[in-house]
């Protein structure tokens, strides 16, 4: 995509001259009969905040543990800075990991926890206190240096774990569900803190998460995984707006999927027949499609408008009846039943207060969207 020359955008993956920091080359990992990682090839670049996203059991943690050295690939190679990682044991790797359980050493104070890795590095002894203090400042833990891990709160423990894993200034920091144990509010604050620290230290972060919102918030690129395979690797906005499959569209955010048959195509415009007696959906598709093939039309609820009166001049207009309303405060989601019993969700920002909204249960309504609002998916 063309970017204005005067505003540099961080996108090393689009620069063919950039050398990747991590390269997975046809990596597979099998545990007995079970294939955890299925032939993955992937490049991760310096200073990236890379998220591995997927449901539990999709292989994301295995992928990360292979980077840390706790698992070895059954097939394929992993390179860090061009060097094959296979023969290097975990204690010799220039990667550090922040564990899901934090794995703080309960018998050591916060200070000693952070100094633990430094004492085992080639850093001169007299430089260690300064580095520990620096990490304590970075994570705002100065006051807790003398406490033991069980004497501080969960949020503070999370920051100790982060400080400890960053202290050795690793080339690559691995974060395994780093915010999973925090409550929602604290998690959101910590996400921004993580991004801030990542920017300040310039370290490459790889984060494993099952929380799509978290991945979208923090990551420069997101890899969506399923059953050991990479389904899509892209920036958060592209993952959301241009998913390459029904799986990705469905996994990330809320989506309406309409199954239909591709009909007439003219350039990138195309019509999809989705229900008997209903006007075809006008959509846009990047690639050519064979007429009559089955396609899935995916559209996000916030891109569907809802109205009591039939709107004029919209590319797509569908009649329906309000089945359910979910009021979430800032937005409301209307579940509308359309032809063939299909439910389509439309999301409306609640710009007015409750008493001024006029659509209610069992109302006949019109749904409308433009011909570029959704994406056409083949699988």
């Amino acid at each position: 995509m063309a970017q204005p020359a005067n505003r540099p955008v961080f996108a090393p993956w689009n620069d063919p001259k950039e050398k990747p920091l991590i390269q997975f080359q046809n990596v597979s990992k099998r545990f007995g009969e079970f294939t955890a990682i299925d032939n993955i090839t992937l490049d991760i670049f310096r200073r990236e905040f890379f998220a591995l996203l997927g449901p539990s059991g999709c292989g994301k943690t295995t992928l990360m543990r292979m980077l840390a050295g706790f698992e070895t690939p059954t097939e394929g190679k992993i390179l860090l800075d061009g060097v094959d990682l296979a023969p290097i044991p975990p204690n010799k790797r220039e990667t550090n990991m922040m564990f899901q359980s934090y794995a703080l050493f309960p018998h050591l104070s916060v200070w000693e926890n952070i100094a633990f890795g430094l004492k085992r590095s080639d850093m001169p002894k007299d430089k260690i206190p300064a580095r520990v203090e620096e990490m304590l400042r970075l994570t705002r833990l100065e006051k807790f240096a003398k406490r033991k891990p069980h004497q501080i709160s969960g949020g503070q423990r999370q920051r100790v774990a982060l400080a400890r894993s960053l202290a050795k200034a690793p080339k690559l920091l691995l974060l395994d569900e780093p915010l999973g144990a925090l409550d929602k509010k604290l998690r959101q604050d910590t996400q921004f803190e993580l991004m801030d620290i990542q920017e300040k230290t310039g370290t490459t972060f790889v984060i494993v998460t099952h929380d799509q919102e978290e991945a979208m918030t923090v990551a420069s690129r997101v890899a969506v995984m399923d059953h050991g395979k990479m389904i899509q690797v892209d920036t958060p906005d592209k993952i959301y707006e241009m998913p390459n499959s029904v799986y990705v569209a469905d996994f990330i955010g809320d989506v309406n999927i309409v199954e239909g048959k591709a009909a007439a195509q003219a350039g990138d415009k195309l019509t999809i027949n989705w229900a008997e007696g209903q006007p075809a959906i006008n959509a846009t598709s990047a690639g050519p499609l064979t007429a009559g093939s089955t396609v899935h039309f995916a559209i996000r609820p916030e891109k569907v408008a809802i109205a009591r009166d039939k709107p004029e001049g919209r590319a797509n207009v569908i009649a329906g009846k309000v089945h359910d309303i979910a009021y979430l405060g800032n937005i409301s989601t209307y579940k509308v039943r359309v032809a063939g019993g299909l439910m389509i969700k439309a999301q409306v920002a609640n710009e007015r207060r409750l008493s001024r909204r006029d659509i209610t249960w069992e109302d006949d309504v019109w749904l409308s969207f433009t011909d570029t609002a959704g994406v056409v998916l083949l699988k």
Partner: protein, 272 residues
């Protein structure tokens, strides 16, 4: 719940405890008996304790017993901890179940058989019977107790702590020494105390493997009782009972405190 302590409960409790502790209580009481006759109460006195400490043979036996207990329980702790660690950490390897079964076998093996087996081994390799053979034999049979105690702690040990240590640059041995060992230390200590107590009062195995110069206290007691019960033995037994009781209570307190600490830490972690 307002449940009264019924007379039935009270009776069964009294009977049960009487059954368990009456002999011991009588022994303790008679150790303070002034009369030389074991069955006649002649007033309170501590003279048998005094005579006991004047008897060189008893003191020698006590010294042998203490040496054996200290060395064998320490060796058993090292070996038992290693065995527990390997069985818990090495993952699946061929014959793992067999190995863990074999480690625990001496727990249920009759002592007579173990003692006899030891004796045959020492004769076969031509090792002269003495303090060393008692130490070796005691190490063998107490090791499995240590291993049971330590492995029950390792079951709940968060493996990611060790991984974190490796990740931060520890060699596997350094990770064990600086992370695993300090955390499981209470279990190791209570294993040691258990081994110490077991070694202290072992008679059967010692009988088999002891030499002429290496009589342990239980052996000494046993042989003098055969010549007739003597009030000194009562005094000695009272001292032994106190030591063993203190050992067992300490071991259980240590492990109880450790469990409480662990639970508190876990709760603190979950709370957030």
């Amino acid at each position: 719940m307002n449940r009264r302590f019924s007379w039935f409960n009270a009776t069964s409790l009294t009977l049960g405890f009487a059954f368990l502790y009456l002999p011991i209580v009588i022994l303790v009481i008679y150790s303070f008996n002034a009369s030389k006759l074991v069955t006649v109460w002649g007033g309170f006195s501590t003279k048998w304790y005094g005579e006991l400490f004047g008897d060189q043979a008893f003191l020698d036996a006590a010294w042998v017993t203490l040496k054996v207990a200290l060395v064998s329980s320490t060796a058993a702790t090292v070996l038992g901890t290693m065995a527990a660690y390997v069985l818990m950490r090495a993952g699946r390897f061929a014959g793992r179940t067999l190995f863990s079964g074999m480690i625990y076998a001496p727990l249920v093996m009759p002592e007579v058989i173990l003692g006899l087996a030891m004796l045959l081994l020492f004769i076969a390799i031509g090792l002269d019977r003495g303090v060393l053979t008692i130490i070796l034999a005691h190490t063998t049979f107490t090791m499995c107790f240590v291993s049971v105690v330590v492995s029950s702690r390792l079951v709940t040990f968060d493996k990611s702590l060790e991984e974190a240590a490796l990740d931060l640059g520890c060699t596997p041995f350094d990770a064990f020494r600086s992370v695993t060992l300090p955390i499981i230390a209470p279990a190791v200590i209570s294993g040691w105390l258990l081994a110490f107590t077991l070694s202290l009062d072992d008679l059967v195995i010692s009988q088999f493997v002891a030499g002429p110069s290496s009589t342990t206290l239980p052996m000494k007691v046993f042989s003098s009782v055969r010549l007739g019960v003597n009030p000194q033995i009562n005094a000695l037994s009272t001292i032994l009972i106190s030591i063993v009781t203190i050992g067992v209570i300490t071991a259980s307190l240590v492990s109880k405190r450790q469990i409480a600490q662990q639970r508190a830490d876990e709760q603190a972690a979950v709370r957030t």
